[in-house]
């Protein structure tokens, strides 16, 4: 009933309000600039790490000549979340080696570099003719094979999203939302795409409709993009009048940042708040960015893999601003050079919009599918931040947070390294939209702190998972040991009972034939009584056999134990010894956090600016014995590293 009401409201065009958010200055002065094609760069760098998975393969070798659209990698076939990489122009493979990635900390990853030959030859396009009659699975496979991922910024594989919506949601109500909000200031690439490729977009939507068979298609667009709205509306009406097909309804939303974030958009369009730990596609709600829809159309109808994307290049340090279509893998430097960068002192280059984008430590990085904007601001355009002051608890941040968090509280907790509490207060719900830091009068770097906190939380999660696994193993091991001991005890008891029984039996028989009770005495009389001596011999044999059996038993169990001990490290990860229970407790247990294992696994944190000391309150329960064990486990492997580190330091000092 309620469901029906909700659906009715949705189709009636009700627009909800999502909590928080900001009304920002548009700064969209490039929305009238046509999308131009950037000329071919002299180097193409395609990151492949995230496209390979564990079992993926690179299909080309260094020196090989490739054509535009040629598939370069084959992803792990087990993992349907991975898509292949395609060459974005023709040329020779220069290298397959680690290169710097577009990442705020300048991480590097495996990349394929192509030197373009300028001919831009492409392989034969493979359009799917009569796609209307094809099975949705075929279309999804096509979307995956042609490397389509979310172009809105999250770079989530489109095929996986569609697949999960198809298989996990009920078919009786599905909602397809086309996201043309583009709420970030300065970015206009989606706006331009809607204006220029309207009919292609509608084609793409038809493909998606064919796959999902949604009950409702909503095309969301913010009211500051008047031209895009006009062209879309005209195209939809056109289609309706010419073919009678209603492609979907246009929803013009009031401009508000961050409306383009999927959950906020869903809230605005449907009134449903999808929690951050639930995939929207599982509810049958699929949100696709317009650029993705365009790429889907190209893949299916034109048979072209995703090898370029539209980006906005803006900022006052550039002589030119505008929208361009770049080949994936073009370096940011090449783009900036073409837009005539006049760098100022400490020029910032921002990848992404001004609210969520990050500054690049180096501009020799490729443009990937997730980049929608490159900004080169000068200090009057986007003034750099001043000093931070104390938080005055004005509550502005809490009023604008679209995730309904209380940022100043989270900030304090995170600063105090109170990670458990931060998690309780919902740090996981923060989508780093930047609203809180934008509004904060004390100019605190709230969002940056939350980013850092997210990284720490990730480490803690991993740690906890490891601990849980270790604990499980420990418990299993203890149970096994206990079982064996019980078995042993039972055997021993049985053996003892047998001995006693036999003893008493034999003495009974002795008694019958011989009054002497002591078997030794009986043995000494062997000579005299043949029969009794024989009986005596038999009992002795029996006893010795039993004793032997017992000894063998014990030896066996010891052997088993011995076999078990070396076997354990095999079962577990080599860093976690499990026989710790038998070793003496290390004296530094209370301070285990100083040398905990996680540090070994996240050397990268220093690059994000995380101090190792921030990890100190990685909380491990310390009350239960298992917990004590687990803390020892984590402290143990790090122990040998300490002297090494010290040694290094001392040698350094010596050198100086």
């Amino acid at each position: 009933m309620e469901l029906d009401k909700q659906r009715h409201k949705i189709s009636a065009g009700k627009i909800w309000k999502f909590f928080g958010g900001l009304k920002l200055n548009d700064l969209k002065n490039t929305s009238a600039d046509r999308i131009l094609d950037l000329k071919l760069p002299n180097l193409i760098t395609l990151p492949i790490d995230r496209h390979l998975g564990t079992g993926g393969q690179v299909l080309v070798t260094v020196g090989e000549r490739v054509k535009r659209g040629q598939q370069l990698t084959a992803p792990d076939s087990q993992n349907s979340n991975l898509v292949p990489v395609h060459a974005s122009t023709s040329g020779t493979i220069m290298s397959i080696a680690p290169q710097v990635l577009p990442h705020p900390s300048g991480f590097s990853g495996e990349c394929i570099s192509i030197r373009p030959d300028g001919l831009d030859e492409s392989i034969e396009p493979k359009p799917l003719s009569r796609w209307e009659s094809l099975d949705p699975q075929v279309l999804i496979a096509r979307i995956r094979e042609f490397g389509i991922e979310g172009l809105g910024g999250a770079q989530f594989p489109t095929a996986a999203k569609l697949q999960s919506a198809l298989s996990e949601s009920s078919p009786d109500y599905r909602l397809l939302i086309i996201n043309g909000c583009e709420c970030e200031p300065m970015v206009t690439c989606d706006d331009r795409l809607i204006q220029e490729k309207t009919s292609d977009l509608l084609q793409g939507i038809r493909i998606l409709k064919k796959i999902l068979n949604p009950s409702e298609v909503l095309i969301a667009i913010e009211d500051n993009k008047t031209e895009a709205i006009d062209s879309l509306r005209a195209a939809i009406n056109n289609m309706r009048s010419s073919t009678g097909e209603c492609i979907g309804t246009l929803r013009v939303l009031p401009t508000k940042y961050p409306q383009g974030a999927a959950r906020n958009l869903i809230k605005a369009l449907t009134g449903i708040e999808v929690p951050y730990n639930v995939h929207t596609s599982k509810l049958g709600i699929v949100v696709q960015n317009v650029a993705t829809v365009y790429a889907i159309k190209q893949a299916v109808v034109d048979g072209l893999p995703l090898d370029s994307r539209v980006i906005t290049v803006a900022g006052d340090s550039l002589k030119l601003n505008g929208n361009i279509r770049v080949r994936l893998g073009t370096s940011v430097r090449f783009v900036l050079n073409n837009f005539k960068l006049k760098p100022e002192f400490h020029q910032r280059i921002i990848l992404g919009g001004p609210m969520m984008g990050f500054t690049l430590p180096t501009i020799d990085v490729p443009i990937t599918k997730s980049v929608n904007c490159v900004i080169a601001p000068n200090s009057s355009d986007l003034p750099p931040r001043n000093n931070q002051h104390n938080c005055i608890r004005c509550g502005r941040c809490a009023r604008v947070c679209p995730s309904r968090l209380v940022p100043y509280q989270l900030y304090a907790l995170s600063k105090a390294s109170n990670h458990a509490k931060a998690r309780q207060c919902g740090i996981a719900d923060c989508n780093e939209c930047g609203c809180c830091a934008f509004i904060c009068p004390s100019e605190l770097d709230l969002t940056a702190q939350f980013r850092r906190e997210h990284a720490i939380q990730k480490v803690i999660n991993e740690l906890e998972q490891r601990n849980a696994v270790a604990k499980e193993r420990m418990a299993a091991h203890e149970a096994r040991v206990r079982l064996e001991e019980e078995k042993k005890a039972a055997k021993r008891a049985a053996a003892l009972a047998r001995i006693n029984r036999q003893k008493s039996e034999s003495t009974d028989s002795d008694k019958q034939q011989d009054p002497v009770q002591n078997p030794q005495e009986a043995a000494s009389r062997q000579v005299s009584g043949g029969r009794s001596a024989q009986a005596q011999e038999q009992t002795e044999l029996k006893i010795s056999r039993i004793i032997k059996a017992k000894e063998a038993d014990a030896a066996e169990s010891m052997a088993a134990e011995a076999a078990e001990q070396p076997a354990q490290p095999e079962q577990s990860t080599p860093t976690l010894p499990y026989n710790l229970k038998r070793t003496a407790a290390p004296k530094h247990v209370p301070e285990y956090h100083k040398w905990t294992a996680p540090l070994k696994h996240v050397p990268d944190l220093t690059l994000v600016g995380i101090e190792h000391s921030e990890l100190k309150s990685v909380e491990l329960p310390t009350k239960t014995p298992e917990a004590l064990l687990s803390t020892r486990e984590s402290s143990e492997p790090a122990k040998p590293r300490l002297p090494e580190a010290l040694k290094k330091n001392s040698t350094l000092k010596h050198k100086r």
Binding site: E2, L3, F19, L24, V100, G106, S108, Y173, L175, P185, R263, T270, I272, E273, P275, V278, L283, Q347, R348, I350, G352, M355, M356, F358, T359, P361, T362, I363, I375, P377, L382, P384, R385, N387, H389, N390, C391, I392, R393, C394, G395, A398, R404, L405, V406, G426, D429, E432, G434, C435, A437, F438, I439, P441, S442, E443, D445, T447, A448, L607
Partner: protein
Amino acid sequence: MSNPKITTGSSRQLLGISPAPHLHSGLKTGTIMLITSAALLPAWFLTMYYYGFGCLWQFLICAGTALVCESTAALLRSRSIFDNLLDYSFLVTALILSLTIPPLTPWYLTVSLTVFAILFVKQMFGGLGMNIFNPAMAGFVFLLISAPSVVFNTVLTPSDGAYQTATLDATYEIIFKENSPLPLQETLKELSYPSHVDEISGATFLESLKTARKAGGDNTLVHVDFIESNYSPYLYLALAYAFGGLVLMGFRIIFKRMVLVFALSIIVFSSLGKLYFSDVVMPPLQQFLFGGTMIAMFFIITDPVTNAGTAKGRITFSILCAFLIVLIRAFGSYSDSVAFAVMLSNAAAPLIDVLTRRRSFGSRFKREG
């Protein structure tokens, strides 16, 4: 190394690195505090007109002491003095203090209460933003508790043209040279109530109410007409505060709903009180115009620092504060209750914060659609 990393250290020199977001709203703490101070100015000048120049001296003492205290605190905490002062919060504290304490308070008391307010109440808790209690109110309570007789002797009755009587010189003599404030107090009182001086026992209306209440008499002793000249200063002062409050609302510095709810609760609680305890509770209008209700409504309970955090919390906070004001005024033993009510609510703010925790995103989520 199979996976060489590029460190940001080398490239940071070439490219600027800053965290997202790269935009800022432009409203900064210092600006907020300056606007707040400016919004207090009309009321401050009016106070000078109705109470004489004592107010000016008090402000100078407060501001000077606060400046020194803030700088000392900054030095002790090895922060930049300049940065510490640039948030201008000391200015707001000094202004509010000069408006709340009696205009003729001897200088040494003013200095010590400011030191208490800034060093003990504010900086000892960690500086701006960390203090639990409103520094100005804490300073005032400090004075009330430690020197009640001085307070009693130094409050003035507002009267038209008091600035002519309580001149710079006269007030200087009293504040710094420890001349007796009583003659001036008497003069102003006569000026204010030319006809029925004897009916009013204390210097202020609230004071006399309290005395009457203690004596068991009816406190509705005088019919108060705020248009009439001897009570009109209260009305004009209230209007001046309201004007400042509106300015703040215009700049979106204070939270409108909170102010509205506060006003409404005062009306509701005092009308209810009037119904049941008619001899001790003042009617709504008097609740607003006498004492510190107006300044509290716009400038003190809206102090972000000592408040609850979320919108819901703030509204709860203002209801609680209004309730306490009405309650303590009726049954307390001090003449005005605003400072106590505010401090009690401050103390309750963390609890309110816990009780009004907001639901998390999507917690109402059901499987639908």
